[in-house]
């Protein structure tokens, strides 16, 4: 196997659910040794969520959410509520490059995972704390919440939605992933800094702040003009048509985005140049933008009844930016995602053969990342407690008996 970029790097990983695990996943896929600290005292909810059981199997080792976010890692049992458990976690931290955690602030404080405490253990440690709205500041620093709550706080839900309607939820748990790649970039910069200077640091990552920094038009319009962009739907600042339109079938749609006259003429040609396209209301990009509601009404009549994937292919062949709104089955079968190398196939001892998403980037000299199976709960206890921390078989047995390794 070709060399992976992060071989020799060790991560003590306290994170759970989505955002922290997605960061650990990148690091594990790129060759770092990511040791996930888990405990039956409070299991990662992604081992339990009933909606994702592999064909109904309720084993903590076969849950789809856990698999999709934790392959390539190691798992140990450690009960952090016992003094010895905490000591062992600290011993592991002394032998690590990174510590990753995404607990609510009060819990990480109780567990002794502040930067000051960890820096006292290992001077050059890099601590990554991922949270809803940051771990310093006013009361929201102590809040509990899930990724989407960051969106509700920074205006995304309010800016979402249909004109005149209520605020709406933005797809799934997208902010958990948005902060994931942003943190991976910055933690590698921190690692580079440590390698050059011997200095560690603390990354205090707020999902809310990541979303703010990734919504510049909304914030800059407010800062420049005092304008609060609310219920913006699919409106673009320049393009029209720019929307999703209904197609044949159950909840099927196509997205079309036209940015200039050439694309507009191409769209008209695919439609067979109907009479209405010659209306002065639609002559020129800015006229179409002004009259986009009327334009959308015509387009909806045309797309309705057509097959979403076939129509998108036809428009693309004519040079019109268009794409089908794909569902989970269509994405699993999508030829582009397979050929590009996004999916990989897991053969798991409990869950069987499953298709999982890989890292959405290709590196020319790293033909395959570390896609080893997600760990069973505590699968690496002996390897870590004996191999890294030097405990004997007898000590490990005693610690298991006393529910420290639990």
């Amino acid at each position: 196997m070709a060399r992976l970029p992060l071989e020799g790097i060790r991560v003590t990983d306290f994170s759970w659910i989505i955002n922290g695990p997605q960061i650990g996943l990148w690091l594990a896929a790129m060759g770092a040794e990511v040791i996930k600290i888990e405990s039956q005292v409070y299991l990662d909810f992604s081992r339990l969520n009933p909606a994702f059981r592999a064909d109904g199997n309720s084993s903590v080792n076969s849950n789809g959410v856990y698999h999709t976010l934790n392959y390539g890692k190691k798992s140990i049992n450690l009960n952090l509520k016992t003094p010895r458990g905490k000591e062992l976690a600290y011993e592991l931290i002394k032998r690590s490059d990174f510590v990753l955690e995404c607990y609510p602030t009060p819990l990480s404080r109780r567990l002794g995972l502040s930067y000051e405490e960890l820096r006292a253990l290992k001077r050059d440690i890099i601590l990554i704390s991922v949270s809803l709205l940051g771990k310093t500041g006013t009361e929201p620093a102590d809040w509990v919440g899930w990724g989407p709550m960051a969106c509700s706080f920074v205006g995304t839900f309010d800016a979402q939605g249909y004109p005149g309607g209520p605020p709406r939820h933005t797809g799934g748990t997208w902010p958990d992933y948005a902060i994931g790649t942003a943190v991976v970039f910055h933690l590698l910069a921190a690692l580079r800094h440590r390698n050059r200077t011997g200095e560690g640091q603390w990354l205090d990552a707020s999902m809310g702040e990541t979303v703010i920094g990734e919504t510049p038009e909304w914030y800059m319009d407010y800062f420049m003009n005092g304008r609060d962009r609310r219920q913006w739907a699919n409106r673009d600042d320049v393009m029209a048509p720019h929307n999703t339109y209904p197609c044949a079938g159950d909840d099927k749609w196509i997205a079309i985005a036209v940015g200039n006259d050439a694309e507009w003429r191409a769209l008209c040609a695919v439609m067979g140049n109907p009479e209405w396209t010659r209306d002065a209301k639609f002559a020129g990009q800015s006229a179409r933008w002004q009259n986009s509601d009327a334009l959308d009404a015509h387009l909806r009549e045309w797309t309705r009844g057509q097959q979403h994937i076939e129509l998108a292919e036809r428009l693309q062949r004519a040079g019109v930016p268009a794409g089908p709104v794909l569902d989970s089955v269509e994405l699993h079968q999508d030829r582009h995602l397979w050929e590009w190398g996004y999916w990989w196939e897991l053969d798991h001892h409990e869950a069987g053969k499953r298709v999982l998403p890989g890292i959405p980037a290709r590196l020319g000299n790293v033909p395959r990342f570390n896609y080893s199976p997600p760990p069973d709960l505590g699968q690496h206890n002996f390897e870590v407690f004996n191999g890294i921390l030097g405990l004997s078989k007898e000590e490990i047995a005693a610690l298991t008996e006393s529910k420290v390794i639990y």
Binding site: I18, F52, L188, L326
Partner: protein
């Protein structure tokens, strides 16, 4: 002054609009020298995009451009002109990273394909961030942020729970979140390539598609199908991972009750209404199954209380509940202001404004944004200072429209 983590890196950014420039900004704010190549005359297309102060278009005043291009140097250059291509090659000869976001094949047609650049500088990392990546059936497709977002399950899933699908068409997230996912994915992957180079001495080609990056934000919804065999549907929202905001007396709150302990906290907050105590709602799976019955009951109770009270008292007992704020309310929120989530930047033409601050806080090497460059501001510095062009050559390049 705090240290800059990446101040030894030299980057050439041949990219416009959002995906490539956002990636370049992350490096530039961390101290890397980023030379941004812009088309002579008009510059980066983002210069023509709103918002503008007082809505008056001006190439040096686009809020989008000013934010995405902090801490960079601007060089106007046309690599399609022979002299332009030659200057381009001289720039990448001693660069660490070339960042580009042109359609696949464009660089090759300019004679600046990966093989050519690799031969010039074997340590060079070339990062290409495009709508769909460099190969596969959609590689030649035209993408825009809307197209890439809508084609992902996250796009289909916005809004997340719909009552009347015919009237509620899938929406784009505010901003350009497919471009942004592409940008941060490209930045992370490029850093991986740098670590790989430290071990092997060789650069490589990094290929990122914005669509793949945003498809990757729906991993859980995909697992419902690949593990539980249930196609994901926004008509059922069968993961219950995302719910819609709920109305309260004076606005909206966002509250989740997936986990048992959270549902218990919600009942406590609402004073244990009898209807919520039904056995039907005892665990995660049952609450998902009887969601249609449960949701209106909770909604009815929430309407009795104000947003601030619900959030304050709910958070006290460990309930994930937050306010639904507007962008303007968030921009003035004491918590975000106390954390310095916004930074003030002065610009000689556009003026002084607040900007969104760094995506992530770093204590020892904080990302620091300095103002965006004027179009071609660094032409002379780079060409005469760095590359040793004479005054006459410089004047000749300008006259020929190469710069």
């Amino acid at each position: 002054m705090a240290a800059a983590a990446l101040d030894d890196l030299k980057i050439v950014e041949y990219a416009g609009m959002v995906s490539g420039p956002m990636c370049g900004k992350l490096f530039a704010d961390m101290g890397a020298e980023v030379i941004k190549i812009e088309p002579p005359g008009v510059g980066d297309e983002a210069r023509s995009h709103p918002p503008f102060p007082a809505d008056l278009p001006h190439p040096e005043k686009s809020g989008l451009y000013l934010y995405l291009n902090t801490s960079k140097k601007s060089l106007t250059l046309d690599p399609a002109a022979p002299r332009g291509a030659e200057i381009f090659k001289r720039l990448v000869r001693d660069a660490d990273i070339l960042l580009e976001n042109h359609p696949p094949g464009h660089m090759h047609r300019l004679g600046l394909g990966y093989e050519v650049l690799h031969a010039l500088n074997p340590r060079l990392i070339v990062t290409s961030v495009t709508p769909f990546g460099q190969s596969g059936p959609y590689a030649g497709w035209k993408g825009t942020d809307l197209i890439e977002w809508a084609m992902s399950l996250t796009g289909y899933n916005t809004p997340t729970l719909v009552n009347d699908p015919a009237a509620e068409n899938p929406l784009r997230a505010p901003g350009r979140q497919a471009d942004m996912m592409g940008a941060t994915t490209a930045a992370a992957a490029t850093m991986m390539a740098l670590f790989h180079r430290e071990a092997t001495g060789l650069g490589q080609w990094v290929d990122v598609g914005c669509w793949q990056a945003v498809v990757n934000t729906a991993k859980i919804e995909m697992a419902v199908y690949s593990y539980a065999g249930m196609p994901y549907s926004r008509l059922r929202a069968n993961t219950k991972a995302g719910l819609e905001p709920s109305r309260c007396r004076d606005g909206y709150v966002y509250v989740l009750w997936v986990v048992d302990s959270h549902f218990e906290a919600l009942k406590e907050l609402l004073g244990h209404p009898a209807a919520l105590e039904a056995d039907l709602f005892n665990d995660t799976a049952q609450r998902a199954e009887y969601d249609d019955a449960l949701r209106p009951l909770i909604q009815q109770e929430l309407l009795k209380y104000d947003m601030d009270w619900l959030v304050r008292e709910g958070q006290k007992i460990g309930l994930p509940i937050g306010p639904v704020l507007t962008v303007a309310q968030a921009a003035e929120h004491p918590h975000l202001r106390a954390r310095g989530a916004f930074v003030e930047i002065d610009h000689p033409v556009a003026g002084r404004f607040r900007y969104p601050g760094p995506l992530v806080r770093l204590t020892a090497t904080p990302p620091t944004a300095r103002r965006a460059p004027l179009l071609g501001e660094h032409n002379e510095d780079i060409l005469c200072g760095r590359l040793g062009c004479s005054r006459e050559e410089f004047a000749g390049l300008r006259a020929a429209g190469v710069i």
